[in-house]
Symmetry: C2
Subunit: 340 residues, 2 copies
């Protein structure tokens, strides 16, 4: 195109700094849902609903068959792939696939990074979150959803210096999270309600995703560490490698042997030793890694500060040095022959 129009358009659109980067050519892109099940409701009264003001009322019979437990995935396939398998990007709790998109302060996220490296990327929204939808039938989820106050992730995700730090606007020294108020609230806008009782549904949907897409590299964050470990245990032939970014949970200790042919990378950020919860969470993860190794599996644990990469919060894919962290993962995948 005409560079002047491009520049004018970029300015007019307030497109962030990404506009400086070279274009990327896509062979295809799109989305789909997988998984889910039918739920039948009966015995409820029929009602009339006016869907739009000035519209025409419609008769709505709440009895009938609903779908629930499905998952959403969006793919972008580069025209010149270098990744040797699709890269599935699984978000953490209270979040959606937006985790891997543009950072809250407008920089390119990890989906952009890995697509630019030539990976076919699949960013999903887990069951009951984002474009997966959510069910209005509490009996089917085993509990109510919860959502977080603005101070909670600031103090729990190692952005601020513990309890009360949001009110004090006190960020951990050297923290790389874009914690200015505007960016932080943009991150909070990404938070979605979370059911704590839908893990089995979510795992089923992730297995359906693997069955549909085929052998893949799975990159899982936080809560999805559980799903990454367990999906690899259930489908070891469909997980070419497992990258766990600060996994919040471990796999099934009875099935460590299933992981012996799945190379695993675990990545942890900064400020863990001083945190009230993260030493225990990391400790659980490292002990599970040892059990996998004892069963002939291969697990690499990277503590980023030991690589000289400092200041990373739990949301390291959004941190200002997010590209440096992504490069650690990229190098590890390339070393295993999964990128050429």
């Amino acid at each position: 195109m005409r560079p002047i129009l491009a520049a004018a358009l970029a300015a007019a659109l307030a497109v962030p700094a990404t506009a400086e980067q070279p274009p990327v050519s896509l062979q295809s892109w799109g989305s789909f849902h997988v998984g889910g099940r039918e739920v039948v409701i009966s015995g409820q009264p029929v009602r009339e609903v006016l869907f739009s003001p000035g519209g025409v009322p419609a008769r709505v019979d709440p009895n009938g068959t609903y779908l629930m437990g499905m998952m959403y995935a969006q793919y972008m396939i580069p025209a010149n792939p270098r990744g040797q398998a699709p890269l599935l990007m699984w978000h953490g709790g209270g979040l959606s696939g937006v985790t891997y998109e543009t950072t809250p302060d407008g920089r390119e996220g990890w989906q952009n990074f890995f697509l630019r490296q030539g990976w076919p990327t699949y960013v999903s929204d887990a069951v009951e979150r984002g474009r997966a939808g959510w069910t209005l039938i509490p009996e089917q989820t085993g509990g109510q959803a919860m959502v977080l106050t603005v101070d909670n992730p600031f103090e729990r995700f190692r952005i601020g210096a513990g309890p009360g730090s949001f009110a004090r606007n006190e960020v951990l020294p050297g923290n790389q999270f874009p914690a200015d108020r505007e960016s932080y609230l943009s991150f909070m806008r990404q938070i979605v309600p979370r059911f704590t009782t839908t893990d089995d549904l979510a795992l089923d949907a992730y297995l359906a995703l693997l069955d549909r897409v085929g052998p893949s590299v799975v990159l899982a964050h936080s809560q999805a560490g559980l799903f990454g470990w367990r999906a690899a245990q259930e489908r070891p032939d469909k997980v070419r490698a497992l990258v766990l970014v600060e996994p919040a949970a471990i796999g099934d200790p009875a099935k460590v042997a299933a992981l012996r042919n799945v190379p695993v990378l675990m990545v942890y950020g900064d400020y863990i030793a001083q945190d009230s919860r993260w030493p225990a969470i990391r400790g659980n993860g490292v002990r599970f890694a040892e059990a996998v190794r004892a069963a002939a599996g291969s697990v690499d644990v990277v503590d980023l500060p030991e690589r000289g990469i400092r200041g990373n919060s739990h949301m390291m894919m959004m941190d200002r040095n997010n590209q440096a962290v992504a490069q650690v993962i990229q190098d590890w995948l390339a070393q295993r022959g999964l990128w050429r």
Copy 2:
């Protein structure tokens, strides 16, 4: 790249028919949230929550400040834009931006079509839906959400032949919607819960989107017809053109004069005369169009069957002839100098 690897990858990924199309070069792509407001909750008990099994319980204080009413938008900017403004794609009720992505039977959707034409596309999830998140504070939405049974859209969106047609598996003759059971259930997986009381919140967020992106072409479907009309009335300088696909509601009759410099296209599908609700909905729309014309505005109404394009359901962006319908819109925009 190496065509053999591309073909093998496409086969391995089960990428749908899109793989036959030429690649598209993106200058940038990403997402953001806009709008929303803070809501303060107080007087609720603190509790401990175990977010992941085997994890470490976290103290969750539900009192505090929440964000609600924000909206999500995802953009893809072509390297060679031909659209003279961004194209904002606003979905209908009970749905999300997925409406415009891959069709339920795996063909390219309207987002693909318009991006391939060179439009910078912005696909959004309206307030309380999809990646916009939703609030757990019913007082803030004025009502409970509702979700649809599998038979409801089949019978209400002019796919099946009226009440009972889903159970009978009776599709309207010549209908273009991919109504085989597998594809139809894939469409149902896109349905999300819907609040019928959040129109003001949604309109505020759409205005925030226009303020952020700048002068745009707005393409709005069904429920979003309301938001399209009203947003154009509130921000006539930011809506270069308004394309309303079977709008379910009209604008503010007191503000028709605000629309005099906003060209409008209204598109209606097939089977309207025989439907129980659509003659009235279309009638309301056409009468409002006449009022806009009487105030010196320009509104074109296209009934697709009169153009020889037959069989279209309310979800025409997913119909098998969705490209032909998109071409009608594309030609109209080009005729108005908005595409070169």
